[in-house]
C-alpha cells in the first residue's frame, strides 16, 4: 500500500519537474524561430498536449479492450478516467491551438488547421461518451457499452484525419499554411522535455483521479456493510 503511494508521489514530482523544466526551456533556452518569431514557442505546449490527448485516448481504448477481453469490470473505471484525462487535454489542445491561430493569422479558428478540426470532432465524440454514461444505469452493461464506444473513438482518430484531409479539397481552400518549424536540435530537445512533462502530468492526473474514484467505491461498500 505504501509502495503505491510512493509511486504516485514520485510520478507527481516527475511531472512537476519535467513540465517546469520544459516551460523554462521553451521560454528561455530554445532558439527563436526564423520565420515565425516568438509565437512559434506555443508549439512546444500545443503539440505536447495534443499528443498526450491521443495517448490518453489510446490508453482508454487499451483498457476498454482489456475489459471486453477479460470481462473484468475493474477496467471500466480505468478506461473512463483515461477518457476524462484525454478530454481535458483535448480541450487544452483546442484552446492553445486557437491562440496559436490568433497569433499566426489573426483569427480564433481556422478550418484549414487539420489538427484543430480533428480535435473538434474528437471532442464531440468523447463528450457523447459522457452522455452515454450518464444516461445509462451503472452496471456491467454500461461498462461494456462504454468500452465499445472508447474503441470506436480510437478507430475514428485516423479515419477522421483522412476525412479532414479529403474534405479540404472541396470545403475551404487551405488559405493559411504554416511552415512546420524546421526543428533544430535544441528545439527538438525542448519539445521532448515538454512532451515528457505533459505525459507525466497526464499519468499523474490519471493515477490520482483513479485513486479518488476507487476510494469512493470502497467508501460506498463500507457504508453498505455498516448500515
Amino acid at each position: 500500500m505504501s509502495l503505491r503511494n510512493n509511486r504516485l508521489g514520485v510520478l507527481a514530482l516527475a511531472a512537476a519537474a519535467l513540465l517546469l523544466a520544459g516551460v523554462a526551456l521553451a521560454f528561455y533556452w530554445a532558439p527563436e524561430d526564423a520565420d515565425q518569431g516568438f509565437s512559434q514557442r506555443i508549439f512546444y505546449i500545443h503539440v505536447s498536449v495534443a499528443l498526450t490527448a491521443y495517448a490518453s485516448f489510446g490508453w482508454a481504448a487499451w483498457k476498454a479492450l482489456r475489459l471486453l477481453w477479460r470481462r473484468d469490470e475493474r477496467y471500466d473505471l480505468e478506461s473512463y478516467t483515461a477518457v476524462h484525462v484525454g478530454v481535458m487535454f483535448g480541450v487544452l489542445t483546442l484552446v492553445t491551438g486557437s491562440i496559436w491561430a490568433r497569433i499566426s493569422w489573426g483569427v480564433w479558428w481556422s478550418w484549414g488547421e487539420r489538427q484543430l478540426v480533428l480535435f473538434l470532432v474528437l471532442f464531440l465524440f468523447y463528450s457523447a461518451y459522457f452522455m452515454l454514461r450518464y444516461s445509462t444505469e451503472p452496471g456491467p452493461r454500461r461498462a461494456r457499452m462504454s468500452a465499445v464506444y472508447a474503441l470506436f473513438g480510437v478507430v475514428l482518430i485516423p479515419i477522421s484525419f483522412l476525412a479532414i484531409r479529403l474534405a479540404e479539397n472541396f470545403i475551404h481552400p487551405v488559405v493559411f499554411t504554416r511552415e512546420g518549424p524546421q526543428m533544430s536540435g535544441s528545439m527538438f530537445f525542448t519539445f521532448c522535455v515538454c512532451l515528457a512533462g505533459t505525459l507525466a502530468l497526464a499519468g499523474s492526473l490519471y493515477a490520482n483521479e483513479l485513486l479518488g474514484k476507487r476510494l469512493d467505491e470502497r467508501l460506498r461498500d463500507l457504508r453498505e456493510a455498516l448500515a
Partner: protein, 212 residues
C-alpha cells in the same frame, strides 16, 4: 449455414413488421422530401449547386437517424429484444439483420429523395449514386450498433444523434466528395474503407452491447 438463416429470418421479421405497421418508412419519406424543400428556402439565391449537394447529404443522414431511432425503441421491440437475446442464435446475427433492414429503408427513402433532389435542384450523377450506396452501408453498420446502445439508456432518442453525428462526419465528407469532385474514386475508396472497418468493428462488438 444456420447463421445466415437466422439473419434472413430476423430481417424478414423486421421488414414484415414494417410492411404491416407502416410507421417508420412513410415518415422517413415525408421527412426527406420536407427537408429538401426547407433547404431550398434556406439556401440564399446564388448559392452554388455544390451547396445543394452538401445539403442532400445532411438530409440523408438525418433521415437515417429518424429510421435508426425507431430500430430498437419500439415498445414491442423491447420484449422482443429480450427474447432474441435469449435465443440460441449468435447475437451479431441480430446486428446484421437489423442493419440490412435499415439499408432497405434507406434505399427506399433514397428512391424518393433522389428524384425529388433532381427536380428541385440539379440532376443526380452516377458518382453521387455510387457514393450514396456505399454511405448507406456505413450508416447502417454504425447506426445499428449505436441505436442498440441508445435503446439501453434512459435518454434514447436524445442520445442517438449525439453518438451518431461525430461518426457520420467521415461519411458526409466521403459522400459529398464523391458527389461533386472531379475524381470521385478517392472518396468512394474512402467510403469503402470506412464501411469495411466499421462494419467489422460493429459486427464484432454488437454482442457486448446487447447482452445484459
Amino acid at each position: 449455414m444456420t447463421y445466415l438463416a437466422d439473419v434472413a429470418a430476423l430481417a424478414k421479421k423486421d421488414l414484415l413488421l414494417e410492411l404491416r405497421s407502416r410507421d417508420t418508412l412513410p415518415a422517413m419519406l415525408l421527412f426527406v422530401v420536407s427537408t429538401l424543400v426547407v433547404f431550398h428556402f434556406s439556401l440564399p439565391s446564388g448559392s452554388s449547386d455544390i451547396a445543394a449537394a452538401g445539403l442532400l447529404w445532411v438530409a440523408i443522414v438525418f433521415t437515417a437517424l429518424l429510421g435508426l431511432t425507431r430500430a430498437f425503441v419500439a415498445e414491442r421491440e423491447q420484449r422482443l429484444m429480450d427474447g432474441l437475446v435469449l435465443a440460441p442464435c449468435d447475437r451479431s446475427a441480430i446486428w446484421l439483420a437489423k442493419g440490412l433492414s435499415i439499408v432497405v429503408f434507406l434505399l427506399l427513402a433514397e428512391v424518393v429523395a433522389l428524384p425529388a433532389y433532381a427536380l428541385f435542384f440539379e440532376p443526380v450523377s452516377g458518382q453521387m449514386v455510387a457514393g450514396i450506396l456505399l454511405a448507406d452501408l456505413g450508416i447502417a453498420s454504425v447506426g445499428t450498433l449505436l441505436a442498440a446502445m441508445a435503446a439501453a439508456s434512459r435518454a434514447r432518442e436524445l442520445l442517438l444523434p449525439l453518438l451518431f453525428l461525430p461518426l457520420a462526419i467521415p461519411v458526409i465528407v466521403g459522400g459529398v466528395g464523391a458527389s461533386v469532385a472531379d475524381d470521385p474514386a478517392r472518396y468512394l475508396g474512402f467510403l469503402g474503407l470506412y464501411d469495411l472497418i466499421f462494419a467489422i468493428l460493429s459486427w464484432a462488438s454488437f454482442e457486448y452491447v446487447v447482452t445484459e
